[in-house]
C-alpha cells in the first residue's frame, strides 16, 4: 500500500484527470504518474490522514496544477494540425516548366519530341501539389494552344500559308508554351 490509494488522493487525482481532459492523453497520463509518484514518496506507507492532507495542500489546488500544465503546452497542441506537406522541390517545378515551355520548339524539329515533352510536362504538372488548379489549367491551355493553333492553320490554310503566316505560327508555337512556363515558375506557392 502506498499513499496514492487514500480516498482523498483518489479524489484529487480524479479531479485533475477530469480538468486536464484537454491535454493529449500521453501528457495527461504523465502528469498523473508524476503526481502519484510524488504522493507515494511524500505521504509514505502509513497513510496518516494528516500527512495526506498536508501533502495535498502543498501540491496545491488541482486547477492550479492543470493551469500550469496548460501553460507548458505549445499553442498548437489544442488544435492538432496535419503536418504540412513537404514543398515540391524547386528542381521538379523547373523541370515541369521547362518541358512544357520547350514543347512548342521541340515540336517544330520533331513532332515526336514535342509530344513527349508535352505529355511528360503535363503529367508532372497535374500530379503536383505545388500549383493551384487554376494555375495548372491556364498553363495547360497555353501549352496546348500552340499545337492546336499550328495544326488547325495547317489544315485550314495549307494552300495559302505564306512566309508571314509561317512566322506568326512559329512565334505562337514558341511564345505560348514559354508563357505557360514563366507563369508556372512565378506562380505563388499554393496556399496551405
Amino acid at each position: 500500500m502506498t499513499g496514492t490509494e487514500h480516498p482523498l488522493v483518489t479524489d484529487y487525482l480524479a479531479t485533475i484527470e477530469r480538468e486536464a481532459s484537454f491535454l493529449p492523453a500521453g501528457r495527461r497520463e504523465e502528469l498523473l504518474a508524476d503526481l502519484r509518484e510524488h504522493l507515494a514518496v511524500a505521504v509514505g506507507e502509513e497513510q496518516d490522514p494528516e500527512a495526506v492532507r498536508t501533502a495535498l495542500e502543498r501540491l496545491g489546488s488541482p486547477s492550479a496544477i492543470v493551469a500550469a500544465a496548460r501553460e507548458e503546452e505549445p499553442e498548437t497542441a489544442a488544435a492538432p494540425v496535419a503536418p504540412p506537406e513537404a514543398p515540391q522541390s524547386r528542381s521538379r517545378s523547373v523541370l515541369t516548366a521547362v518541358l512544357l515551355g520547350v514543347s512548342g520548339i521541340a515540336a517544330l524539329s520533331s513532332p515526336f519530341a514535342g509530344l513527349a515533352a508535352l505529355v511528360l510536362g503535363l503529367g508532372l504538372l497535374w500530379t503536383s501539389a505545388a500549383w493551384q488548379r487554376r494555375t495548372k489549367a491556364v498553363a495547360t491551355a497555353l501549352t496546348l494552344a500552340a499545337p492546336v493553333t499550328v495544326g488547325l492553320s495547317m489544315l485550314l490554310l495549307a494552300a495559302r500559308l505564306g512566309i508571314v503566316e509561317l512566322l506568326v505560327l512559329l512565334a505562337v508555337s514558341i511564345a505560348l508554351p514559354a508563357t505557360a512556363a514563366v507563369r508556372l515558375l512565378r506562380a505563388p506557392a499554393r496556399a496551405a
Binding site: T2, L31, H38, A40, V41, A64, I65, A67, A68, E72
Partner: protein, 123 residues
C-alpha cells in the same frame, strides 16, 4: 473588496509573472551538483517562498524540461520507500543554465537601475 486583499492579489500576480521566466532556471540550478528526485526539488523550491505557491505546478514544468532535453529522468529504487524519479541535468541543460546565469546579473542590474537610480525630468 478589502484593500489589503486587493494588494496581496496584485503582488501575487506580480510574483507569478516574475516566476514564469526564472523558475525553470532555478530548477536547472538545483540539479547542477547532482541528480535530485521530485519531492526534493519541490521542497528546495518551497523553502524560498517567492518561488512557488503550489508545488504541484512544478511537475508540468519538469515534464517540459524533460521533453526539451534539458533534464533526464531515471526511476531508482529506494531503500526506505517507493521508487523515486531522479532528475539529472543534461549537457544542453547545463548550457541553458550557463547562458541564463550569464544574462541574469545584467537583467537584474538593469531593473535595479530603473527602480533605484534617481532620474532627471518630471517625476
Amino acid at each position: 473588496m478589502v484593500p489589503g486583499e486587493a494588494r496581496s492579489e496584485a503582488s501575487g500576480r506580480v510574483a507569478s509573472q516574475l516566476r514564469k521566466g526564472v523558475l525553470e532556471y532555478c530548477v536547472l540550478a538545483l540539479l547542477r551538483d547532482g541528480p535530485r528526485y521530485g519531492v526534493e526539488i519541490l521542497d528546495e523550491l518551497a523553502a524560498v517562498s517567492v518561488m512557488t505557491t503550489s508545488q504541484g505546478t512544478i511537475y508540468p514544468l519538469l515534464s517540459r524540461l524533460r521533453r526539451d532535453g534539458l533534464v533526464d529522468t531515471e526511476l531508482r529504487e529506494s531503500a526506505t520507500g517507493p521508487a523515486r524519479r531522479y532528475y539529472t541535468l543534461t549537457a544542453p541543460g547545463r548550457t541553458a543554465l550557463a547562458e541564463f546565469a550569464e544574462s541574469w546579473p545584467r537583467f537584474r542590474d538593469g531593473v535595479d537601475h530603473f527602480l533605484t537610480a534617481p532620474h532627471g525630468g518630471s517625476a
